[in-house]
Amino acid sequence: MFISGIGIIFTRGRGIDSFENALMQGWTDPSWTDSFPAYRVAKEVLSDAALSKKIRRADKFSKMAVFSALDAFKDSGITLNSNETIGIILATAFGPHTTTFSFIDDILDYGDAGVSPTKFSNSVHNAAASYISTVLGSCGPTVTLTDFSYPFQNALLLAESWLKEERCKHVLCGCVDELSVVMEYACKMKMKTAEDGKIRPFLFSDCPVSVLGEGAAFFMLSEEKCKNNYGEVSEIKLFGESKNNPDIIIIDADGMTGDESDYEKISNTGLPLAGYSPVFGSMKIGSAFNFAAASLMLKKQHVYRCPVLDNHSQMNLCSSTSETNITGINCVRICRSDQISIINIKK
């Protein structure tokens, strides 16, 4: 399964070039609201005159999904012979909950019979995927998944199955999550927020710090190698050991899944280690963004400096941005000590 296009919306803008610039630039301060830091996506990023009619009723969640999916499609340069050749897989942890709360506002303010049907239909998890299929004119299989542990990994696994079964020739596969006041409150109360705004992926703490993020990352995945190619996904493991020997390991540690001490064991191999969550923020879907960084590294044969280098365990961190020869990268996510997920991407 080849990665033929990438589209991203995150705190520093839209598009794979913005993301690469951010990786080059390194850590920047998040935005602060009532002393709470978060990597929020600005409203200005979410306007697109060319699409304004088709998505005029879409909420922020759906817009982030549509823009990043469309960008991944454009980035691939693929032209379609049939509208059924693309499958769409959207994964999320929390879905469009801002719209759900807005719908509940209507119930509280106007009563059960006074609510908005538009808000209700946009509050459904699969509204975003529906907008994507409508904008692209795609009639292939379209599915929305939710998971609090491995949403991106499960989406990739399904994309791989669909391509193998020839349900479609390409899959637009990606993740979306948004912030809201409720989410920020819950995280503030339940998690440890980084007071200086810095996520520290390499402290392997049992009580790590986080800085919430939001955004979307989509990938055009193809059974055959396309003109634009970032690399090949050669292995998706939800449990257990990888059979591949990577040149670099990228870890998803971002303070979002609690105890991160299990990352230390898998990181302590002597191989160069990286983690880019301080660029885009803490998210259950953070794997998709690290996967995008890995894809860029393979395509450009470039290693990006880790944005935050705090490293008490003396790991071999990627500490400078430079050209290099990379043939394989393992992207690692650990949510439970008995479940280590590894995605291997090859040049």
Partner: protein, 387 residues
């Protein structure tokens, strides 16, 4: 590689298990009434599961309890004891309500006071139904919850089929579950598609759907794994198809383009022709648009002798649970050799090209199709085979 349906289980207003549900359908018993689960002023009848016994799972979310109840029946039917060991098991369940933090009391308190008890958030975070079931039965394969609105259950079964074919699992627990909740009740009310009376799918005078709750679970196994367990297959999940309308967020494509494509893909995936299908368990919600489009597509694809029905007259529309429940009923119908009357149907209007089955009917074929249409223009179909 074939995929065996080795166990089925269900719970809904039609019954606490499959046997009770089939009994309700055989006797035309429709257990609908006013909402008792939450305060509500809307006049729409619902299909509620009454008198649920208190268990460990009821301390989680109601949807999870419904899912676990059906799963336990399905595991028993398949001959598995819990927790699973030495089996690579995946979990793929569909839902709508359980994916959302739509706790009105919590949100209202948050708005009012800013500082609230986070127990509802904890319950929500523990309530992703596939993750929670994976944890409960100690599953060691992929687990993911499908949130494709009303086709979630059917799509979840289709994803399970892909996992098994690609060798990611030995068995998969698949299906769907959903609970009644005030938020979707208000939402569907606002769309103007709820009926004030008992729903009447495909009937000339239908006025809308009734919401329901429940779960339908299938235990699916790789055939080689099942045979190694010393069993002889009786039912197979032989195909799945899915297609998007790419048309509208809430309305189906007027010609049912996506549904037709989904059904044809499912038949092709099964390697059978339309002539091999002995009945279709239709989505049949009782809304004007859905039933018109669906019956038109069914007659176009299968011809005017198509035998089809909707079981939503017995369960209500259980949203993310519907595909799972209807797959269970389809499998049971093939196994037992009869299909139920499409409850609520009395007479055919001009826009319905072929009448659904109006009385309980004996069948003898080998293949059944179950269809789902959803918000967002999703369409899905599965094919079930009896040996």
């Amino acid at each position: 590689m074939k995929v065996v349906i080795s166990g089925i289980g269900t719970i809904s207003a039609a019954g606490f298990n499959l046997e009770e549900s089939l009994c309700s359908m055989k006797n035309g018993k429709r257990n609908a009434g006013p909402v008792s689960l939450f305060p509500n002023v809307l006049p729409y009848p619902v299909f509620e599961v009454k008198d649920l016994a208190e268990t460990v799972e009821t301390k989680s979310i109601r949807t999870f309890f419904l899912a676990v109840t059906a799963a336990k029946e399905a595991f028993k039917d398949a001959g598995f004891s819990l927790p699973l060991s030495g089996v690579k098991a995946g979990i793929c369940l569909g839902t709508t309500v359980a994916s959302q933090l739509n706790d009105i009391e919590f949100y209202s308190a948050f708005k009012k006071y800013g500082n609230v008890d986070l127990k509802p958030v904890d319950r929500y975070l523990r309530g992703n139904i596939s993750e929670a079931l994976a944890y409960l039965i100690k599953a060691t394969g992929p687990s993911v919850t499908v949130v494709n609105a009303c086709s979630s259950g059917t799509d979840a079964i289709g994803i399970a089929l892909s996992w098994l074919r690609s060798g990611n699992c030995d068995i998969v627990i698949a299906g769907g579950a959903d609970e009644l909740n005030r938020v979707p009740l208000c939402g569907f009310g606002s769309l103007g598609i709820l009926s004030n009376s008992l729903c009447a799918p495909f009937d000339r005078d239908r006025t809308g759907l009734n919401l329901g709750e429940g779960a339908g679970i299938l235990i699916l196994e790789r055939e080689d794994f099942y045979i190694k367990r010393g069993k002889t297959p009786l039912l197979y999940l032989s195909g799945y198809g899915s297609a998007a309308d790419s048309y509208h967020l809430t309305a189906p494509h007027p010609e049912g383009k996506g549904l037709e494509s989904a059904i044809k893909k499912a038949l092709s995936d099964s390697g059978i022709s339309k002539m091999d299908v002995c009945f279709v368990n239709a989505h049949g919600t009782g809304t004007i648009d859905n039933d018109k489009v669906e019956s038109t597509v069914l007659s176009r694809v299968f011809g005017e002798n198509v035998r089809y029905f909707s079981t939503k007259g017995y369960t209500g529309h259980t949203l993310g649970g519907a595909g799972g429940i209807e797959a269970v009923f389809s499998a049971a119908a093939l196994k037992h050799g009869w299909i139920p009357a499409s409850a609520g149907f009395l007479s055919k209007g001009d826009e319905i090209p072929v009448s659904p089955v109006a009385v309980n009917t004996t069948i003898s074929g080998s293949f059944a199709v179950s269809t789902s249409l959803a918000f967002g223009g999703n369409n899905a179909a599965i094919v079930i085979e009896k040996v």
